[in-house]
Amino acid sequence: MVHGESTVFAVSELNALVRELLEDQFAEVAVEGETSNVRVHASGHVYFRLKDASASLSAVCFRSDARLLDFDLSDGQRVVARGRLTIYEVQGSYQLVARAIEPAGRGDLERAFRLLVSKLDQEGLFDEARKRPLPRYPRTIAVVTSPTGAAVRDIFSTLARRFPCVEVVFAPVQVQGERAPFEIVRALDALNDHDVDVVILGRGGGSIEDLWAFNDESVARAIHRSRAPVVSAVGHETDVTIADFVADRRAATPTMAAEIVVPEREDVARRLDAYAEKSRARMTARVGLEKRRVAELVRSYALGQVRGRVERGMQSLDFALERVQRALVSAALARRAALDTAGARLAALDPREVLRRGYAVCHDESGAHLVRGAHEAAAAGRMRVTFHDGVVAAAVEGMEIPSAKEAAS
C-alpha cells in the first residue's frame, strides 16, 4: 500500500486503513507488563492497562474470555497477555484484545514442574509397584486439607453419608501460600506417629499458583514416606499435580476421594445378608445330610446294636438344628435393629421363615422361658408352642427318654 503525499484521507478512512494494517500485522501477539486500571464492566468485559517503566497500552478482555481466566485480575500484577491488536476507531487509539492472560513467571513454574517431575520419576517416587492398596474397610481416616474450603465439607459429608462408622483424624492445614508446604509436610509426618489406615490429602480447585503447594518437592517426599496409603484429591479433574503422581491413588475431586476410601454402607449390608444366607443354606443342607446318614444307620444295622449311637446322633442333630435356629434368630434380631436405625431393606432372615418350614418354638406357660428339651417340657407340664401362624397351649402327657445318660452328651 503506497499513499502519496497528495492523498488526503477522511479521519474515519485513515483509522479504518490503519486498523486493517494493524489487525493484519498483529493478529497474534504476546505482551508482558504490569496491570493497572483494571475495571470489570457490567457487561462482563474487563478493561485494563498494561504498562512497563516507560510506556503503557490499553487492553480489553471480553466476557467470554474473561470467564475462562483461572485467577482474579487485579491492579499491579505482572502478566503475559496474548491476543490481537485493533483500533478503537472512535478515538483512534489502539488496544490489545486479550484472549488469554496468565501471571508472568508461569512459564518458569512449568519448567520447574517438568524438572521436578523427571527428577522424582528417576528416583522412583512414581513407581506403580510401590503404590499400596487401600484398606477395604478403614477404621481411621486422616483428612489433610484446609479447615475452611469446600473440600473438607465435601469429604466429611461423603464419609458420613456412605460409611459413618469410621473415625476421622482431621489435620487442618493451609493449602496455598508460602506456609502451605511446611504445614502439609508437618501434618503428614505427624500422622506417621498415629494409627491411621488411609490419608486423604487435598483441596478444591484453583489456579496453577493456588495449587502450587502440591507441586512442592518436600510435599512429594512426605507423601512418599507416609506409613498409611495416601489418596490425593487436588483441584478439579483436569488439575494434575506432583502430589497426584506420588500418591497411592489419585481422586479427581475431594468428594471422589471419600468415595474411593470407604464403601457404601448399603452394599456392605447386602454382602452381610448374602453371607448369612449362604451359611444358613449350607448348615441346613449339612444337618439334613447327617439326618439321612443316621436314618441309613437305623436301616442297615440291627437297632439294638447301634441304639445308643443312633439316639446320640438324633439328639445331637436336633440340638444342631436348634443351634442353627438360635443363631439365625439372633441374626434376625440384629438385622431388625439395623433396619430400624439405618432404614434398610426388609429382613431376609425373619424368624418366621424358619417357623414356616415346619419348626415350632416352645416356651413355658408364662412365655418367659424357652423350653429346650424333653426334661424341661416334662418339668414345665404346660407349654406355649409357637408356630408360624399362631400359638397353641399344650399339655405334656408323657416323656420318652431312651437313655438319660447318653442324651446328656
Binding site: Y137, V166, V169, A171, H194, D195, R286, V324
Partner: protein, 92 residues
C-alpha cells in the same frame, strides 16, 4: 510388621475392627462352603459367623462420624479428643 507407637483406640474397645470381622466372616463362609469340617466344627463356625455378622451390623449402624483434630502442642502435633464420644479418652 508396622510398629504402632501411638495407637488411636478402636471404635469398640478391644472389639475386632470391621475389616478384621469381615475378613474372618469371609473365611468362615468359605470354610462352610468347603464342607471339610465335622458337624460340630461347622456349627461352631456357623455360630461364630452369625455373631460376626451381627457385630458388623451393629458397627454399620453407628450414625455419626467420630472426628478428632490434629492440634499443636508445643512443637508437635497431637490428636485431640473425639468430638462425638467425649466419654472416651485417647490412650496416648
Amino acid at each position: 510388621m508396622k510398629e504402632k507407637p501411638n495407637p488411636i483406640p478402636p471404635a469398640g474397645d478391644d472389639a475386632p475392627s470391621f475389616e478384621e470381622a469381615m475378613t474372618r466372616l469371609e473365611r468362615i463362609v468359605a470354610d462352610l462352603e468347603g464342607g471339610r469340617y465335622t458337624l460340630e466344627e461347622s456349627l461352631q463356625r456357623f455360630e461364630e459367623g452369625i455373631a460376626l455378622g451381627n457385630q458388623c451390623r451393629r458397627m454399620l449402624e453407628r450414625a455419626d462420624l467420630r472426628v478428632r483434630t490434629l492440634v499443636e502442642a508445643g512443637d508437635r502435633l497431637v490428636v485431640s479428643d473425639p468430638t462425638e464420644t467425649p466419654d472416651e479418652e485417647p490412650r496416648a
